[in-house]
Symmetry: C2
Subunit: 190 residues, 2 copies
Amino acid sequence: MPKVSAEHSEARRAEILDGARRAFSRWGYEGATVARLESETGLSRGAIFHYFGSKLDLFVALAIEENHRYISLIVERGFDDALRSMANESPEWLGMLLEIQGRLRHDPKFVEKMEGMSDDRERIAAWLQDAQARGELRDDIEPVHLGRFASMVLNGLALRVAGKDPVDVEPVIALLHDALDHRTQEALTE
Amino acid sequence: MPKVSAEHSEARRAEILDGARRAFSRWGYEGATVARLESETGLSRGAIFHYFGSKLDLFVALAIEENHRYISLIVERGFDDALRSMANESPEWLGMLLEIQGRLRHDPKFVEKMEGMSDDRERIAAWLQDAQARGELRDDIEPVHLGRFASMVLNGLALRVAGKDPVDVEPVIALLHDALDHRTQEALTE
């Protein structure tokens, strides 16, 4: 495939994802009809389903993209910025995402699609290990458990934002930081 | 009302809640029809709706009861036991609870019912303040933020259990503990 065409294809894909995200946020998953997906993306159903086979595929792609964005944020800029970004998400978007992910979580088709398309798990595992080696993160607890704890805090924050509950993210950042800090380990095991 | 009658009424109420919890876990909120609520509680619709005006009221009562149970666990036995209890919840029950709470969170009728029936917020606030005064919890961060952080971890764990993702609760307990510990504050501000 010539380079220009691949770029065009990538841009079109991103355009569809943007529109679909708006449609899902606004009308929920069921409410985001094909007509509404067309109107939010400005593209025909033919174009949309050329890039994504079904509405479920579109949702899965958005969920993977969202996950990928957070892994990148963490790896490139740390948990603080990931938490700040989460605190600024749209409640409607997060509410939709959490609800549909929850509903689909035990659907084998969904699980397979989510599994098959991402190497983000290894990326975060390597980053956690490096951060331990650099002495930033405590190393008395396995890296996988540090990562899970941080993701629980992120998901707990997501639930809070989705619920439009008051959010002051700075204390959350400070507390997660202290939980994972290498100096905490030293102080508490002395 | 004579004492025996109040006790009987309380027992009957608890019986209905138990059955409704089973019905919701098994068939989801929509799937828990009146017939299924009857069969799980072993009581007639007349008896059920004598105690709870509607299916929504039944759900709200269960959500409040669940919240109350966790507040009591925290206040009486601390965050460790609350996390352990959450790790052992039924995934089906938590999945249903999170999904329906999420869906109803912006419904004014639901919000009003949840608000009107609980003084648990003050109970946990007082407990956090006492724990700071006793020197157990750090006091460089407002108690409300310590409570919110712990509830984010609990909710993040609930999402994980609901998703049937692997859960090893002991590292979560250790990390939350260290985040909130008074000695962490001392170590990191020296």
